[in-house]
Symmetry: C2
Subunit: 195 residues, 2 copies
Amino acid sequence: MAATRLRKQTDTAQRILDVSERLVQRRGFNGISYANVAAELSMTKASLHYHFPGKAELGEALIVRYAARFADALQEIDRRVADARGKLNAYAGLYADVLRGKRMCLCGILAAEYETLPTPMRKATIRFFDDNVTWLTRVLARGHSDKTLTFDGSPSDAAQAILSGLEGAMLVSRPYGDLERFQSAAARLLASLTS
Amino acid sequence: MAATRLRKQTDTAQRILDVSERLVQRRGFNGISYANVAAELSMTKASLHYHFPGKAELGEALIVRYAARFADALQEIDRRVADARGKLNAYAGLYADVLRGKRMCLCGILAAEYETLPTPMRKATIRFFDDNVTWLTRVLARGHSDKTLTFDGSPSDAAQAILSGLEGAMLVSRPYGDLERFQSAAARLLASLTS
DNA sequence: GTCTATAGGCAGATAGAC
DNA sequence: GTCTATCTGCCTATAGAC
């Protein structure tokens, strides 16, 4: 029936996205090919093209799904953690989880390749960062107004500093394969906001 | 005479490095080709291979020269600026200059592509970061002991936080083409060390 | 040192059988 | 949906003339 066909197609598309996502987070968008992805799935390149007509479409779908998952994780933090400081710690924890999988943040690595990306991928990358800054800004503003956080400058400036600080900590830690490096930088970053 | 020939060869090699450096800092190592570089120099790909036998050798030469220049700039800061806070500001200024040229830090962009790099390039990238942390650690340790800087934790942990914070600020600012974003994050980062 | 010419491989992508 | 076969183009790299 239709539902089965739809499910099946969706499953395959999801598996393609799963493999592509991991490869891109490790090697960058310019560091992967349809051949790489197909080989890991024991499929042919032609089959991939059935699900995603071109690399640009695959890349865009990758970011859209990644951003949606990240948004879900932020909602989950809001549901489970009440205080601003706890939310920021949980936020940094999301990054640590990615790094534990020996991956870079998808949009962090795409930011590095930004100039080579097709326009839809560029826009989706920016949107991811904007969404993160929006969420962080809200957390910081609330923490500031209820006196649980102390920081100088505007909440949105502080939010941008957190985002870029965590992205940078991931970027530099990865060559060393050293999670501690990230944790130390992240802890210091949050401490400077919660002192 | 020999000196002329040597000079000429050196000049050409330097021009190749100049063009390659700019392209890699904008597009990443996997985002450039011998064809790109050759076209900008109105040369053929074959001529490039005369100066640098393969892309791996070109890439390594790129990092070595970049790191040497950076080391020179740090020496220059040491020569001209006495106080720790001033040195850190000048250090952040080096990054701002790179960003103004619409470039990413060479080793920052290579860190993103780390898994795809040949071993010599990996080692040279790590060395660049290590050199930076070493210099920053010295500045921070001295500033701490003469009470011009106040920060928690070890100087080397703080040094790593500065390095990754600045790299991250460059990374995230570039898609927005927004130097202000970098400046704001950099200022906040240094303020958290000098308060 | 720089060129032309070319090798050999892999990239993204498409046609068409099943 | 997935396959085989194939196209076109670009990639890194080399040979050899000038």
